[in-house]
């Protein structure tokens, strides 16, 4: 009786795999060939022909070995979630905050030292907020695109695109609580309105702009070709 395990071990180099992984893959591939051979025999096919058919399952063992090794070896420091969510998410966050800083440019000084005059003025809206909002669709698109490149699903792509808005919202929530606790001079009726205004301006509108840019990448992508060779 043919020892399929020996045959596969000779042909499958499994370079890059540790011994345990290699042994397991060899055992699995050998079992497959053995099953195939026995299936052919059960159909009444002669031994030589059955062996030949089983061996024809793989045209290029070197290529198969490369394919399996690249799939089996550890991903390194970046796993699927990192590549599909955190990396695109932090890219959109950095890009959104960077764009805001660039638009503010030398006016940052005025923003910090004359916040009331500057920030509540319509000039700030026209010169900073609206241009920033106009850039956000591009940034949202980049986030969703990067997530899709890493095989992110629909929710992950949307989360990557919306990341800056989600982070701002996550900061606002404890912020409003801290303000309510420590800023005793503030009128309680003002807080919810201020919170709603801030959420609208810095979460909902930017979120809508980011989603707009992400839309082309949220649709079902073309069917991904499997990343392997063979047959």
């Amino acid at each position: 009786m043919r020892d399929w395990n020996v045959l596969v071990r000779e042909k499958f180099s499994g370079r890059g795999l540790d011994e345990l992984q290699r042994t397991e893959v060899v055992s699995e591939l050998a079992a497959h060939l053995e099953d195939l051979y026995e299936h052919q025999r059960s159909l009444g096919i002669g031994e030589a022909e059955a062996i030949s058919r089983a061996l024809n399952e793989v045209n290029n063992w070197r290529q198969l070995s490369r394919d399996i090794s690249s799939t089996k070896k550890p991903e390194g420091h970046m796993n699927y979630r990192t590549k599909s969510l955190w990396l695109p998410g932090f890219t959109t966050l950095t890009a959104a905050m960077g764009a805001l800083a660039i638009i503010m440019g030398h006016d940052v000084h005025r923003f910090y030292f004359e916040p009331r005059i500057y920030w509540y003025g319509s000039m700030a809206v026209m010169e900073i907020y609206l241009p920033w909002l106009a850039i956000l669709p591009i940034i949202g698109g980049i986030g969703a695109y990067l997530s899709r490149l890493a095989n992110g699903n629909l929710k992950t792509r949307l989360a990557a695109a919306l990341f800056p808005a989600l982070v701002v919202f996550a900061l606002f929530c404890p912020g409003i609580v801290v303000t309510a606790v420590f800023e005793h001079h503030l009128n309680w009726h003002v807080l919810p309105v201020a919170f709603a205004g801030m959420v609208f301006s810095w979460v909902l509108l930017p979120g809508a702009a980011l989603t707009l840019g992400a839309l082309p990448f949220l649709r079902s992508s073309q069917v991904r070709d499997a990343e392997y060779s063979g047959s």
């Binding site: 591939l29 079992a31 497959h32 299936h39 399952e57 063979g230």
Partner: protein, 113 residues
């Protein structure tokens, strides 16, 4: 028997084919290949070289899990089963393929051929 689909087209369908089969029951590699061929009426065929890299890819993504068990003949085989994450992928993949076929049909009149 249905005409066998060319390998490049068949490869793209491997994810959905494997997940759909494992959604019904756990199977080992040879059974998966055999069932795909049988249940697709012979249209889809995955040989060893095309099947295992895909199985390992799906396993790495956490969509399927594999463990060694004895089969009915008492031989050790690596059985694959669907994970929760894998089960969640089936509906979006089906929609993706449906949209793909609809688009292709509009473009090339596939169902009228």
């Amino acid at each position: 028997m249905t005409k066998r689909v060319r390998s490049k087209i068949a490869r793209g369908s491997a994810e959905l084919a494997i997940l759909s089969l494992l959604n019904k029951q756990q199977l080992y590699g040879f059974e998966i290949a055999k069932r795909i061929e049988e249940e697709s009426g012979g249209a889809l065929h995955f040989n060893l070289a095309s099947l295992y890299p895909m199985l390992y890819t799906l396993e790495k993504r956490g969509w399927i899990g594999g463990r060694w068990e004895s089969n009915r003949a008492g031989r050790d085989r690596r059985y694959y089963c669907l994970t929760g994450a894998g089960r969640k992928q089936i509906a979006p993949l089906r929609r993706e393929w449906k949209s793909f076929f609809r688009g292709l049909d509009l473009l090339a009149g596939v169902t009228r051929a």
